[in-house]
Structures are given as structure tokens and as C-alpha cells.
């Protein structure tokens, strides 16, 4: 029995900003599981020894590795900021319709700021 088809949504509707953020929250969530796998590789490599660690470092400091790294950092900060907004919603705060897009923009700016902050880590 094949999987029952899903009614098209992402391919059909032009989502408002809040909707785009919502699906991005789900997508970053799934991607971050792979980021956890990357950390698994890192810690096992360190446990194994110096050459295994250096391999991880070489791969992750190459330019594709840096693309992946910053992708993970941004996904993480995005997921974190939107997650906090979910928690606020759970307490019934910031649900007013007028401010929805405003808070969405604030959240995007915060995730960008946090990603920038990571760039300046010593």
C-alpha cells in the first residue's frame, strides 16, 4: 500500500513570513540532527586520536566544510530564536495579530545577530 498522498501546500501557496519561518523551523530541526551526527564524528575522532581529529579538522576547515559549518550555526540560531518564540506563545504572550510580522522580523534579526556573534568568538 503506497503512502497516501499529501495535499500540495509548499508547492502551491505563497506563504506569509510567519508561515515561511514555521516551515523553516521544522527544516532546521531535521538538519540539526545531522549536525549532531557531525559532533558524534568529532568526539569519536578525538577519542580515537590526533590523526583522526586532524582529519575532521581538515574536512571542516575546507571551504565546503566552512559552508556546512556556517549553515549549521545559522540553522541552530534560527531554530533557537523561533523556539523561544514558541515558548512565549505557550505562555500566551506575543500572539497579537498586528505584531506577528514585527516579531517575525525581530526574530530573524536576532538569529542573524547571534550568527554574527559566533563569528567573533575568540
Amino acid at each position: 500500500m503506497a503512502n497516501r498522498p499529501l495535499s500540495p501546500h509548499l508547492q502551491v501557496y505563497r506563504l506569509p513570513l510567519t508561515g515561511l519561518i514555521s516551515i523553516s523551523h521544522r527544516m532546521t530541526g531535521v538538519l540539526l540532527v545531522f549536525a549532531t551526527a557531525l559532533i558524534l564524528w568529532l568526539l569519536v575522532a578525538i577519542a580515537v586520536g590526533e590523526s583522526a581529529y586532524q582529519l575532521w579538522q581538515t574536512v571542516m576547515t575546507s571551504w565546503p566544510g566552512r559552508v556546512v559549518y556556517w549553515g549549521i550555526i545559522y540553522a541552530l540560531m534560527f531554530h533557537l530564536c523561533h523556539g523561544i518564540r514558541h515558548l512565549l506563545w505557550d505562555f500566551g504572550k506575543t500572539l497579537d495579530k498586528a505584531m506577528l510580522t514585527g516579531y517575525a522580523v525581530a526574530e530573524l534579526l536576532l538569529s542573524a545577530a547571534l550568527t554574527l556573534a559566533v563569528y567573533f568568538l575568540p
Binding site: 503512502n3 559532533i39 578525538i46 576547515t61 568568538l121
Partner: protein, 126 residues
């Protein structure tokens, strides 16, 4: 609640509550995830070993691994429930994903404990 009734929560309620609790716990723990990824890009083997092996960092990372595993399992479960329609396939996929995440968390925890006990100085060099 002052009554003497047994309070049994539904599966959905427990999921909701656990997801919120793990989310709040992960807010501070994310710092260690970022620091680890950041340091691994530039630190020497000795430096990163020492950083991980130091007690607070090791503890934070270990707690992060466990709570992240639980948060991932809860999150992936709802995603699968949304997109997989046939029940046996859905249940099988959820169980498979849970197993994968748990194995990943176990392997990561073991690696962490190993690094702590060898003080990040030498690996077992396969």
C-alpha cells in the same frame, strides 16, 4: 490539585510537556555545542582535549547529548507523523529513527567519557 484521583496524562500531553522542558534546557546548553564546533575548527588536539576534559565542559556536553537526543526524538516523531500516512510504516520509521538517535547519543556519550578519563591526552589510536 487536592483530589485523590490518579492523574494520567495523554501521550500528546506528555510529548508537549517534554518538548517544552527539553527546549528550555537546551537554551543554555546550546552554548557548549557552539563552543565545541567553534574550537574544533582551530584548536590543537591537546587544547581541545583539555577543554572537553575539564569538568564543567564535559558535564555540560554530556547533559547536552542526552537532552538533545530526547528533543530530537520528540521532534522527528511529529514530523514523521505528519508526512507518513500508513500506520505500520509510520510506526516502524519512528522506531527506527528513535533507535538511530539513541545509538548516536550512546556513542557520543561513550566518546565523551573516554576523553574525560584520558584527560584528552591520548586516544586509543585505531
Amino acid at each position: 490539585m487536592d483530589d485523590n484521583k490518579l492523574h494520567v496524562q495523554s501521550h500528546a500531553t506528555r510529548h508537549f510537556r517534554s518538548q517544552r522542558i527539553t527546549s528550555v534546557a537546551l537554551i543554555p546548553l546550546t552554548l557548549w555545542q557552539v563552543l565545541l564546533l567553534h574550537k574544533a575548527g582551530l584548536a590543537s588536539y591537546a587544547d581541545i582535549g583539555a577543554w572537553i576534559a575539564s569538568p564543567w565542559n564535559a558535564l555540560a556536553l554530556l547533559v547536552w547529548v542526552v537532552i538533545m537526543a530526547y528533543h530530537s526524538i520528540l521532534g522527528l516523531q511529529v514530523v514523521i507523523e505528519d508526512y507518513v500516512a500508513t500506520l505500520p510504516r509510520r510506526e516502524g520509521l519512528i522506531k527506527g529513527v528513535n533507535l538511530l538517535v539513541i545509538l548516536m547519543a550512546a556513542a557520543t556519550s561513550i566518546a565523551l567519557v573516554f576523553i574525560v578519563f584520558t584527560e584528552g591526552k591520548n586516544g586509543f589510536s585505531l
